[in-house]
Symmetry: C2
Subunit: 350 residues, 2 copies
């Protein structure tokens, strides 16, 4: 998001205990019990923390051996996060599921730039620094078996406070996120299943969502210097605010809930297929492409690295191991070539 990228963040502090909420009291940290209509901030936080619990539990069941380790952190200025990582399990080489809830202050230029794009010139003059709230869940799951695909998902909510020097000006808010699949080998039934679950989640809210967000995803995850995508896509959207706020909260919730049914059955089917050293090498080459996309192009990663986000949480998206061969060439028609072809020429899977 343009907004999130313009903000520098203070250094985080490790915490011993996981708080019930990272919200400030004034944001309704305790309102999930006392109030009948908690704020969108509070409900979004609850949604991502529930999703973190559910996804981690499901992944531990599939893995059978590995357990998530948790790091809790907070920021002096407000907010914090929970990073959970399962490393070197039986099925997953690295699986990270992070939530963060951050308060900050945004330079007025960034606010104006974002507002201008979405709302147009409405006559506000020279606002001061704008307080903001950002919450999100972010996850990358790298299995060991080259036939089991990598999954990434991220859902986030961004809100500015009403500017203090402009009485009556409203809060502004945006939703963003997506879920995408990165296999090293194509099983058409898997890719169809994955995209079908994304489409079902979208169709519950708006029939234009799936085609629009599927294309947005194909356009976003491009490794430009290779003119290929890192994987086979899914859905992606950013800076969404031109729909009903409750609808978009419901949509984000549905998308996050779709992660388990979209992904777990695929891993179950592929995690124990025997593979050769050559097939493992191909997976590792594709992991190298994943690293290239994340370090060179991914907005969240490059923004986080340049503004002092929690490095270990940001870079948990990188695979445990990756590979780069000079001038690697594929024979047309091979399974490896078919994957690369689908990364170069995105397909309609359903």
């Amino acid at each position: 998001s343009l907004l999130v990228r313009a903000v520098a963040i203070e250094k985080e502090v490790p915490e011993e205990q996981r708080p019930d909420s990272f919200l400030r009291e004034s944001d309704g940290a305790s309102s999930t019990i006392s109030s009948s209509s908690p704020s969108v901030r509070a409900r979004f936080e609850k949604m991502i923390r529930d999703a973190q619990d559910d996804v981690c539990a499901a992944l531990e069941v599939v893995d059978g051996a590995g357990k998530f380790k948790e790091d809790v952190w907070s920021r002096p200025g407000g907010g914090g996060g929970i990073s959970r990582v399962l490393q070197n399990g039986a099925v997953f080489e690295k699986a990270g599921v992070n939530v963060s809830v951050v308060y900050g202050v945004m330079p007025p230029e960034a606010y104006r730039a974002a507002k201008g794009a979405s709302v147009g010139n409405d006559g506000d003059v020279k606002p001061g620094p704008v307080p903001f709230f950002a919450a999100g869940i972010s996850s990358v799951l790298h299995p060991k078996n080259p036939f089991a695909p990598t999954l990434h998902f991220n859902y986030r909510y961004f809100e500015t406070d009403a500017p203090k020097d402009t009485p009556g000006a409203p809060r502004r808010w945006w939703f963003g996120g997506g879920t995408d699949l990165t296999p090293a080998y194509i099983f058409e039934e898997d890719v169809k299943h994955f995209h079908s679950v994304q489409k079902q989640a979208c169709d519950k809210f708006d029939p234009t969502f799936y085609p629009r967000f599927k294309k947005w995803c194909d356009d976003y995850f491009v490794i430009k210097h290779r003119n290929e995508r890192r994987g086979l896509g899914g859905i992606f959207f950013d800076d969404l605010n031109d729909y009903d706020q409750e609808m978009l909260l419901g949509f984000s919730t549905e998308c996050a809930k779709s992660v388990i049914p979209a992904y777990i059955p695929i891993v179950e089917k592929r995690k124990d297929i025997p593979f050769t050293e050559q097939q493992k090498d191909w997976q590792q080459l594709r992991r190298g492409r994943y690293v290239e996309f994340n370090l060179v192009y991914d907005r969240g990663t490059t923004f986080g690295l340049k503004t002092g986000g929690r490095i270990e949480s940001i870079l948990v998206s990188l695979p445990l191991t990756a590979r780069w061969e000079y001038n690697h060439q594929l024979k047309e028609g091979t399974e490896e070539w078919k994957l690369l072809d689908a990364c170069i020429n995105p397909k309609e899977w359903i």
Copy 2:
């Protein structure tokens, strides 16, 4: 270099044969025979091509098994290059030694920006696009043994033509380059030897060079998001033009000639030391840091990726394999910790 970064480059074409020179006739492609004083362009091209031959020959001897494979390419607009890569040898997992000689046209803004920094406002007004010439040798050598260090070196020469609309305005020129060492484990005698050879090369030309270029190197190879360097430095300089041109050509030549005596004895001593799986993993983690620096910060790499340079030549600097562990921690006082400490707090080795 600021200049080189501002220029978009056309797509390259593979060539069957290596030409004697990539220079245009007017630049004295054949003058090494016919003329008694060949141009700096011609002498720099000969220097880097000799260095490529010498370094590749020395590396093949050390490796004993692997052989360099060569790719020759040219650009429609003029110039070309020779990429040589030894992959999966007995000693080296990946060794790339590339030369390129490129002609292009620079937008006037880039020329003004660079000229302004080095020459100041000299009254030129609105120059048109400025033709330039850039030649360089670039190399990264990744050995297999975790006790044998990675080496990088790069020497380059940049020249603009006299602007066509400003009669009498001179050609401008710049030199840049450096050689730096990236071990996973410190052998003090190796690092001292390496830095001593760099200092000897520098001292032949100017006693201020080594201290100045050693610090420049420590300042350049910083992985900012980790607040650590990728390795133990060496020398680095960029956009150098405030010395005699012949002197800087001689200095660059001396630096390139110092690569073999600085590096080969170290590899010979360390290539066969037995190592554990844990030591290999540590080398792989440091290789991950190398990838982070090159993809996120290195100017040559990020410029090349964004302007359509030859991708395989640019990314040959990446290791064959690399590793990222979540929240990897070191025990103080271990050999791994000593390396990291020296990457965080650069030392005077001689």
